[in-house]
């Protein structure tokens, strides 16, 4: 019995020392809340070294869950990376700080104005664009026969049970609306109903709705075709070259993920430095090569490794931009989308 007591004591001792050491940290901590796998580890390490600080990185998997958590819990973040439409909502609620451009020299020097029309905040008042992400189709060229760059692929019977759609009401209904030729932010009930019918047709063939887990399923051969974001597929295709990403001919949704600085942040200067640091050309290149999304950067994009750069899924041709639509926050009309989403999820 004594042994058990000793064991217990040791466990408690270990726990308490662990606790004490955690209190002993004196370095400044930069708290970042972001999507999963969204920064190259090397860059974070380099930043920590240069500014003698610690980065605490927490990850979320949807704008909505991030918003719910920050709304309820504060969280004490300095920087959050989020889509523009959520940033707008949070800015209007006074949760985000206004950007002080005098502290953003590097960003101002390198930001590529060509991308301005892809954000809801073109003057960069409260957001600094990070990556631009296109929704599209990722598929396995070896296993999907007669591929056509169209959302209609999701109606194909021969792929039944081997495909997935994003678990995101704006993306699925949005793409259905685009396919029908409507506006991606349409709130007219009749048009939404049509979109629901179309999405239900897709749903019949898919295996599941998912976000981040589906790229792994695509890589491991679980799924043959998925609706997903560009960079996710490109990351996977590094390991499995038969996997390809396309933007359907009907068009798609596009969102910027942006750096935002929280109003109650205690390390705002460090947060500005972090954004500048990412915009330093050599860091931007490293980040893009690893995460495989495009940073709206005048210099760095052309410095990215040729194989990656020449992939039309990475550096999307200008004419494709025409077919990409911005999601905006719908306010109270969001409830209509959620209702519609329920009708898709639960037939």
């Amino acid at each position: 019995m004594k042994k058990i007591i000793t064991m217990g004591c040791i466990a408690l001792l270990a726990a308490s020392t662990a606790f004490l050491t955690s209190c002993g940290q004196k370095k400044t901590v930069l708290r970042i809340y972001t999507w999963g796998d969204y920064f190259a580890q090397d860059i974070l390490d380099a930043f920590e070294e240069k500014y003698d600080c610690t980065i605490q990185l927490d990850e979320f998997d949807s704008n909505e869950s991030m918003y719910a958590k920050v709304k309820a819990g504060g969280g004490g973040y300095d920087l959050i990376v989020m889509s523009t439409y959520t940033a707008k909502l949070m800015y209007e609620q006074g949760m985000l700080d206004k950007m002080d451009h005098s502290k953003l020299a590097t960003v101002n020097k390198y930001f590529d104005k060509k991308y301005e029309h892809l954000t809801l905040d073109p003057k960069l008042e409260y957001t600094i664009p990070y990556f631009v992400s296109f929704t599209g189709i990722g598929y396995d060229t070896e296993k999907v026969k007669d591929f056509e760059p169209s959302w209609a692929m999701f109606e194909r019977e021969d792929l039944k049970g081997r495909t997935s759609l994003l678990d995101d009401h704006r993306e699925v209904i949005g793409c259905a609306l685009i396919t029908l030729g409507y506006d991606v932010n349409e709130t007219d009930q009749a048009k939404l109903d049509e979109a629901v019918d179309l999405a239900n047709k897709w749903k019949k063939q898919i295996a599941k709705f998912g976000v981040d887990d589906t790229k792994q399923s695509l890589a491991s051969g679980e799924f043959l075709m998925i609706q997903t974001y560009s960079g996710d597929v490109l990351q996977v295709s590094m390991e499995k070259p038969s996997i390809k990403f396309v933007i359907p001919k009907e068009g798609t949704t596009v969102t910027f993920d942006n750096f935002t600085i929280m109003k109650d942040s205690k390390n705002k200067d460090l947060a500005y430095e972090f954004i500048n640091f990412i915009y330093e050309p050599e860091n931007a290149v490293k980040d893009m090569e690893e995460i495989q999304y495009v940073l709206p950067h005048t210099v760095a994009v052309d410095m990215v490794d040729e194989d990656i750069r020449n992939n039309p899924a990475f550096k999307v041709p200008e004419e494709t931009f025409e077919r990409c639509h911005l999601l905006i926050d719908l306010g109270d009309d969001n409830a209509k989308f959620l209702k519609a989403w329920d009708r898709i999820r639960e037939e």
Partner: protein, 325 residues
């Protein structure tokens, strides 16, 4: 003096009582309270009162989800118990204590492994390029196109997998005390093995079975992670619906309404269980005895959740020592 001691006792129990009142009973009431609140557009709880969340329960998709939750709960409970009875019979009949404990531990260890990791193991196991899939295709049981993951059968299999130890432990703790000479006696009187098993052994362990039903059925009704991780587009259960209302839709009143339904669904069997035991549990209506029996069952329920609890081991040990002598 006696009064004083009672008072002292009362203060002993007070902290835990107050704690559970505030953080266990009160939240349950809060749920029923929030059901009647409106949502505000920022995802919080609005002012005033409304029946909106209750009305939304009429949503045509809910009966299907509730029915699925119900039958999956019942089926997984039934299968778990059907598997556990022969196992416990077998374990109780093993006379070598070391081997018996070893078997018991083998069954219980998965229960001590992290829940997420157990579910994750199933994702690896049922992977479309995994060994099981290849084996089944090679054997010609299923065509290449069949998906093993992301459907309600996967959900059911993982539920059974995770709840088996819950069913084995309470049944085992009763079966272990069962007097197996009764079975032999029945057979001597000409009963077939199966008849004796059914008429003598089963009634003998009925209490353990009843407890097992409770500890499997109720958590099964609230399953959330399993459908979330191995389920597909059509295998949602009430549990993961609640989570979605909270984390994706930010509709707390709606989540509360669903939780209230689940809570009622959970407490009904619980009440039935207590009532059932009152009717069939004791033969004498003597209050004190009843109290004692209740205590006993709860105790068993409790200690059986504790892997091979101290008592089990010591009992086994004693038996072993007796056998050695």
């Amino acid at each position: 003096m006696k009064l004083f001691r009672n008072c002292g006792n009362f203060f002993l129990g007070l902290p835990a009582f107050v704690w559970l009142l505030i953080f266990y009973a009160l939240p349950a009431i809060v749920i029923f309270f929030i059901v009647f609140k409106p949502v505000d557009s920022n995802g919080g709880i609005g002012e005033g009162w409304t029946l909106q969340a209750v009305c939304e329960l009429k949503d045509p998709s809910y009966p299907a989800i509730m029915w699925r939750t119900f039958w999956q709960g019942i089926v997984s409970t039934f299968v778990c118990i059907a598997i556990s009875i022969p196992i416990c019979y077998q374990l109780a009949r093993i006379s070598n204590v070391k081997i018996k404990n070893f078997f018991l531990l083998l069954i219980v260890v998965p229960f001590w492994t992290n829940f997420l990791i157990r579910i994750y193991a199933w994702k690896v196991f049922l992977h479309p390029d995994g060994a099981l899939k290849h084996l089944l295709v090679w054997m010609g049981v299923i065509p290449q196109s069949t998906m093993l993951l992301y459907n309600q059968w996967a959900v059911l299999a993982v539920m059974i997998y995770t709840y088996i130890p819950f069913a084995v432990l309470p049944i085992y703790s009763v079966a272990e005390k069962f007097d197996f000479s009764l079975l032999d006696a029945a057979k001597d009187l000409g009963a077939s093995s199966f008849y004796a098993f059914r008429k003598v052994f089963l009634p003998g362990i009925s209490k353990g079975v009843l407890t097992a039903v409770m500890v499997v059925l109720i958590p099964a009704f609230g399953a959330y992670l399993i459908p979330d991780l191995v389920g597909g587009k059509d295998s949602h259960l009430v549990g993961d619906m609640i989570a979605r209302r909270v984390f994706t839709d930010r509709n707390l009143p709606h989540a509360s309404a669903l939780s209230a339904v689940l809570m009622i669904a959970v407490f009904l069997p619980l009440v039935a269980f207590i009532w059932f035991r009152k009717i069939f549990g004791t033969k004498s209506p003597d209050d004190a005895k009843l109290q004692l029996k209740q205590q006993d069952t709860k105790q068993r329920l409790g200690s059986s959740l504790l892997f091979t609890s101290d008592t089990n081991v010591s009992q086994n040990q004693q038996k072993g020592e007796e056998a050695n002598e």
